[in-house]
Chain length 112, copies 4
């Protein structure tokens, strides 16, 4: 049971993840290099759920195939957790960092 009080933000998720890892003494394994590999491994499992679907079928999968949708949500959770952990290990605020990049991308690709 984790005493998480903030379950709506990435900061609350990050704090829970850091406590989860500390409670299991896993910190020595969780370098940025290793976490990036783990992130890529989970993204690979996500791809496997979508690889034989057409793009149109992938749009409909949430409503058309509840079992596949549950597996996809589980993989998305693993991806999210490793990404949040990786960002913490690199001292990056994911949301601010993403907005900063979007500032550049919006200039590079003007609206039609």
């Amino acid at each position: 049971m984790s005493p998480v009080t903030d379950t709506s933000s990435l900061d609350g998720l990050r704090d829970r993840l850091l406590r989860f890892v500390a409670d299991r003494q896993w910190e020595p394994y969780l370098t940025p290099k290793n976490l990036a590999m783990a992130l890529a491994g989970e993204v690979g499992e996500l791809l496997a759920e979508l690889q034989w679907l057409t793009p149109e079928e992938s749009v409909a999968v949430v409503t058309a195939d509840p079992a596949a949708a549950a597996r996809i949500r589980s993989e998305l959770a693993d991806v999210t957790n490793y990404l949040v952990h990786l960002a913490a290990s690199l001292d990056v605020d994911l949301v601010a960092n993403a907005h900063h990049k979007l500032d550049e991308v919006e200039v590079r690709y003007p609206p039609v």
Copy 2:
């Protein structure tokens, strides 16, 4: 210039991304299948930044190599943005979904 008012949460980031895409009429391309591929492609670029470093060097990279750190932050932003977009396309709340998975993982791996 985007009229984003909430720059601290994933919801605000998602809203900005959806508007960014709508303004460019890119929606037809952004199926879950295609977005998962784009996410994996960006994770690949992140791996490339860390592949020749030792785990110890990857821990120190943020302070030891500002140019590499900037590239890593840029890749993290691309990964974040595609993940947020993918979750939106699947109607998944990333933070709630990640907590739900952690509820299971905490039981599966008890603390030491």
Copy 3:
């Protein structure tokens, strides 16, 4: 039982894979896009086998951990088979294509 006569070359492997797929009527699924996703998914499983090892441990894994080595060989096989299939779908001779790229890379990075 496959009547493969050439088990030493990539061409023989490719021919066996194409027959395997034809015998199961899976061709409609095996587009370059889908095969690239499947390849990436299998590479993700390979990463998962190596993610918590140090680089030194990864060098020793073949002799130090026979069970892990067997899993790694199994993932390498999946990666190889999807790569050979993908190349066939794009009408690319993998070995000739790799030598062609090495001709360029050898010029770009002169020996020390």
Copy 4:
């Protein structure tokens, strides 16, 4: 100029790659862990070439878009070279290993 005599087999490609690396004194970097990351990074670049195409467009890309086809061949070469290098670092014969796995897969999925 490399004195490669066998340009038709994976063994010849592997020998050229090992000599290429030795000539540049890069061996210390080329552990299985690092090579798996590099392989995944190149697969990510391959995905990026196919991510916005429909499956049907990906089938036609070789003839319909020569510039994209050249980029795809270049990425396929990078993937091949890292896979061959990784297999060498793990003392795995890629073709024999792939046939061994196919022996199992053919039993698991009987023909229709």
